[in-house]
Symmetry: C3
Amino acid sequence: MENVVSMNDLSVEDINALIERAEIFKKYGIRELPGEFMISNLFFEPSTRTKTSFEVAERKLGLEVIPFEAGFSSTLKGETLYDTVRTLEQLGIDAVVIRHQDDKYYKELIGKTGVSIINGGDGSGQHPTQSLLDLFTIKEEFGHFENLNILIAGDISHSRVAKSNADALSRLGANVTFLCPVEWAGSFESTDNWDGLLEQSDVVMLLRVQHERHGDDTGFTKEEYHRRFGLTVERERKMKPGAIIMHPAPVNRDVEIADRLIECSRSRIFKQVENGVYIRAAVLETVLKGRN
Amino acid sequence: MENVVSMNDLSVEDINALIERAEIFKKYGIRELPGEFMISNLFFEPSTRTKTSFEVAERKLGLEVIPFEAGFSSTLKGETLYDTVRTLEQLGIDAVVIRHQDDKYYKELIGKTGVSIINGGDGSGQHPTQSLLDLFTIKEEFGHFENLNILIAGDISHSRVAKSNADALSRLGANVTFLCPVEWAGSFESTDNWDGLLEQSDVVMLLRVQHERHGDDTGFTKEEYHRRFGLTVERERKMKPGAIIMHPAPVNRDVEIADRLIECSRSRIFKQVENGVYIRAAVLETVLKGRN
Amino acid sequence: MENVVSMNDLSVEDINALIERAEIFKKYGIRELPGEFMISNLFFEPSTRTKTSFEVAERKLGLEVIPFEAGFSSTLKGETLYDTVRTLEQLGIDAVVIRHQDDKYYKELIGKTGVSIINGGDGSGQHPTQSLLDLFTIKEEFGHFENLNILIAGDISHSRVAKSNADALSRLGANVTFLCPVEWAGSFESTDNWDGLLEQSDVVMLLRVQHERHGDDTGFTKEEYHRRFGLTVERERKMKPGAIIMHPAPVNRDVEIADRLIECSRSRIFKQVENGVYIRAAVLETVLKGRN
């Protein structure tokens, strides 16, 4: 694996191998990689957990992390992303993690420089390490994916996570249902009616309402959204025994999910954060080992 | 000591123990802590000396410092401080140093996550490591606190330092007097008249005029402020032999203090900066050792 | 060498020694310096390659790099550059790399603190490590400087590189010619006519059109500039065998140089980036060794 930019490029075998590696890291700790590698995290959009999660994984792997302030770089002088990455290659950087506002920004990079690209989220496109950590968390819970019923609820059309997860879960044998306001469905088949869904779902995966992408034109107040599409305390009561709640975070409290459910016994929200470190370490290790 | 957020939580014994540890660090160097610790510095307000001072102390203690750009994090997407710190906990972070514009931001954190909180300054509230380094500097100079006369002059009501220092110095046996414009006294008893104060003070501690908090409504030009409340060259001449000048910096030259006094023989301003590294190392060591 | 702020301070012997050290680093790798050094990179203007290049060199030399966010420091509270550097000295920092918008910002620093200053670019003034890496790249190509014809084309008056390079190249025995719009020549003797220049030049060194300094008052559209002063595909064909193309980057594609020439066989643009790491390591090593 030279690059990891989209779940679509990963076979079921690739996915399982990465999850197994993350399980081993979680059980025995993350070991330093032999060899010297330099990496840089190019985050052109704000992020706490993805960026920090990569940073922690990189330090534990013993990588030399070269800081890059996207908001204070030569991209401000109009430098292209290709020129930036090509420059980092010349400086000796082995791999970059990139989050960028443009869909498929990586198309202009893959195969064109010697730097490995790990996608930390592109526009409304893919976010493969988030998908992988979601899958890892589901596998840890249920031991398998076959015939699990996964309900993904929320801002489907703008969500990197929905896109990344949907196809992978289907390929792994799970049944995915989308629930969202009809205006937000994009090209996905979806429902806006909770009837019967909660009772049969093994996983209720909530997505963030991305106020920063919608502006004020969502057509919903926060209260309305919560009442119609959020996981309220009442809805949680209808979930079946053993079913879990997931959310990629950051959470809009009392919008996608009731404040007091965030750390309830069904919630795996903060466990997802923890699992992210192991998955990212697995992805980084796999990509960097492939370079030797 | 699990957290260090306010001088009010530190007993006289705690304060003396931290100062003694800093003295040892200054004499013999800062040693790497056994064990592996990850720390992150969350500065939501600009800072050079406090942030860099912590960074240096952390490196010397051998901690893994995970970068956090407050101005480019998920707090921009509305994430609460609790969720940010809870996320860092899940990523494996042991302790965070936080500077935040809100008074007592730490109330929503202490005891609610497993991350140790070190307060790097809250709103107009506390700034305990600045207080401790001030105390360390005074102790280093005079060998004791009892019956020392400390004059604190300047922007008392907005000053974290005044609040943090006043109570601690009193408990340690020193006599504290405040001098400031009446409008800036807040709830402190103060005078706006220098008569006799300089002649009897062992320490003249100047505070920064916080233009960024006052806006333009201070009611003083810089020249006026200097003339009435600043340490002018003339006033310095009235100070008694052996008395010292302190300032937490950054300094507004020719406002709180005459430009040419900043590095005069009485000034301990840059020594305070140096002492800050040792004090912060002592605080970090104490907090992290308490976690083992 | 205590500081490196301007090419004018470096003798021909100094320049040759630094280039020779960079050659050795390139051949055998950069080794960690004995001793413990702390360094900080103070970039008050956006930069990718200079800042990252220094970071990489510093890590390879085994220095402790203390982060400094210029856009989020006490300079925002009006702190002077002197006070910032003096503060860093007290925190134990040995050397700082500074990029700053003010010409000769270093005048208020040199000899006034114990911190070594390495100039990463001052206003429209000097950029000595860029000059040195340009010289290194030319020496690597031709083995010598004597009687080489160097054409420097572009925004001479705003260019740190033109100023830094011109004098050094002359002292080393090369012949330098400037080509630019007459309005941009500043105090340099220049031509705005390509006739005969391409056929005789060993090096065509292009400079960046600094839109961010000119605003919109350049008087040229990008297309016009390219047609009259850029290295077009047609002009490249007139270059003599063995002649090379250089550019300090970031490049405005199709302005200073045709897009498809950027990675052509004559171009050393990305090799310059690579060489920058070795030159910066040589400068850092020389300055820090001088402190022991």
